[in-house]
């Protein structure tokens, strides 16, 4: 359905809104702000937006199947790349603003703190997926492209687990994300067709 084409820039712009909002908040424009602990707020917001976009990416296939809206698949790559984009910013805020770009501290954290190890593993796995997200790479890799991109399931599990593990006590929020992820994963298990 070609009429969807013009919406692509619009969807792109909508996906940028969280970033615009966070930037305005960081510079305290228009009465916005990041609150009393701005580094933590920015870090958490970017982590949550990254995870939301990741879940949206995973929602494309089941929603398409339930609704029959086959055009949805056109936006999947963009959603996945936005997830990577927000999580890269999440990592940069951690490395630059939280750890002051001290390589020793960052490496120690990644090796010693299991929740950081999980997050880092997830982010690193996203790199090859982002790098092979072009049409040319898709063609070049053929069947292997599909297998490679199944990594997204592992990444999502690592991401939710990372969220769950950094919470002090009240796990309600990460459990909500975990439930949504569970639904999205289970929906992919198709019963074998009896015939």
């Amino acid at each position: 359905m070609s009429y969807v084409r013009p919406f692509k820039p619009l969807v792109f712009a909508v996906c940028l809104l969280p970033l615009v909002y966070l930037l305005l908040s960081a510079f305290e424009v228009a009465g916005l702000g990041l609150g009393t602990n701005p580094v933590e707020e920015l870090l958490h917001e970017l982590g949550r937006w990254g995870l939301k976009f990741l879940l949206l990416t995973l929602a494309v296939t089941p929603v398409r199947r339930w609704t029959g809206w086959s055009w949805l698949v056109r936006y999947r790559r963009m959603l996945g790349l936005f997830s990577f984009f927000y999580l890269l910013l999440h990592f940069l805020v951690y490395a630059v603003l939280d750890q002051g770009l001290d390589p020793g501290l960052i490496v120690e954290d990644i090796l010693k703190r299991p929740y950081i190890t999980l997050g880092m593993a997830g982010l690193l796995m996203m790199v090859p997926l982002a790098a092979t997200s072009t049409k040319a790479m898709m063609r070049k890799l053929g069947k292997r492209w599909k297998s490679l991109h199944r990594l997204v399931y592992v990444i999502a599990i690592l991401g939710v687990w990372h969220f769950y593990w950094q919470v002090k006590l009240d796990t309600l929020q990460p459990l909500v994300y975990a439930s949504i992820l569970a639904v999205l994963l289970i929906s992919r298990i198709r019963p074998r067709k009896r015939r």
């Binding site: 960081a26 009393t36 602990n37 701005p38 939280d98 002051g100 120690e108 006590l169």
Partner: protein, 321 residues
């Protein structure tokens, strides 16, 4: 017990002349001219504080135990709170405790003491000398503030309650009232919030029963009407809205210890060398310095080592975290 001055205050740096003059001017402007003796650095900035509220407390004196570091703003201290009785988000307590009514208030005193019973708040606090104590505050989550509390040394409250020789520990409990404390409707922690101290910790001159902030009555989100402040321990030891004090023979179990015993212990002394299992305690983020501020090293016993280290001589602080 000998009262030592905190290591960070050299007599010469207590008040530089220009700061002193500025403070005098501000005090005069705010009608507190009589108050050469009333409170220190925080009153200087009192006139400039945004959003400050609550009844002013009378007859507050300065304390030599205060730190010379500049205090966080009223705004910082009252909008970023861990107080699960009013929600688990940092901004929740300021919102959800707005309508909490901390008066009338009474405290049940029981256990190993000669004067058990139910005490009205006024009975415990009135006629006691209120002191301003500017203390460092270090949260177990690795952030910190400097807070100008007003309160009474816990030792002088304990003195009136006359613990007997069996009393080795104190157990404190927060009010348990899900109607008034909406966070208690969810079972995040095992309500009521419970904390404990050894008798020696409770009697230490630094240990404060706080009833105020910035010379005003304590705001609800900070634990009105009365809360503990134990500045060399992680913040969760400083229990809020105290409704019960019990003198015990055996060591009480605190709420966080009960919830996750592998991560939170009874002592919870600030210690940069003993990490939380999930994060480092070596450094802390001072609140109030914006997006680009650096973290700073955490000090042993939160900088109060000179005064409190002797309480723990011979104790393995790695095991007794």
């Amino acid at each position: 017990m000998l009262i030592k001055r905190p290591a960070d205050i050299e007599p010469s740096e207590i008040t530089s002349e220009s700061v002193y003059q500025r403070r005098r001017t501000l005090l005069k402007m705010s009608g507190l001219a009589t108050a050469g003796a009333i409170a220190g650095i925080p009153l200087l900035s009192l006139a400039e504080q945004e959003g400050i509220s609550g009844r002013e407390l009378q007859g507050v004196i300065e304390s030599p135990l205060s730190t010379a570091e500049p205090a966080n703003s009223w705004q910082d201290i009252t909008t970023y709170n861990n107080y699960y009785e009013f929600g688990t988000g940092k901004a929740d307590p300021a919102r959800n405790a707005r309508d909490f009514e901390p008066r009338p208030w009474s405290v049940v005193v029981k256990g190993e003491c000669d004067k058990p019973g139910r005490y009205d708040f006024e009975d415990l606090v009135d006629n006691q000398q209120l002191e301003e104590r500017v203390y460092r505050f270090r949260c177990v989550e690795a952030w910190s503030m400097v807070i100008p509390w007003v309160g009474i040394p816990l030792a002088s409250i304990i003195g009136r309650l006359q613990p007997n020789s069996n009393a080795k520990f104190l157990r404190f409990r927060t009010l348990h009232d899900p109607e008034r404390m909406p966070g208690q409707r969810r079972r995040t922690l095992d309500w009521p919030y419970t904390e404990g101290l050894t008798m020696a910790e409770a009697m230490h001159p630094l240990t404060l029963m706080a009833v105020g902030l910035y010379g005003r009555e304590l705001p609800n989100q900070n634990g009105a009407p009365m809360r503990l402040v134990v500045p060399w321990k992680y913040g969760f030891k400083s229990i809020k809205a105290i409704a019960e004090i019990e003198f015990t023979r055996r060591r009480p179990r605190s709420s966080w210890e009960q919830a996750i015993p592998s991560e939170y212990g009874f002592y919870a002394n600030v210690n940069p060398e003993v990490d939380h299992p999930r994060w480092s305690q070596a450094r802390e983020r001072p609140i109030g310095f914006g997006l680009f501020a650096r973290k700073k090293p955490t000090l042993m016993f939160n900088g109060y080592a000179d005064q409190v280290a002797s309480l723990y001589s011979g104790l393995d602080l790695r095991k007794n975290f």
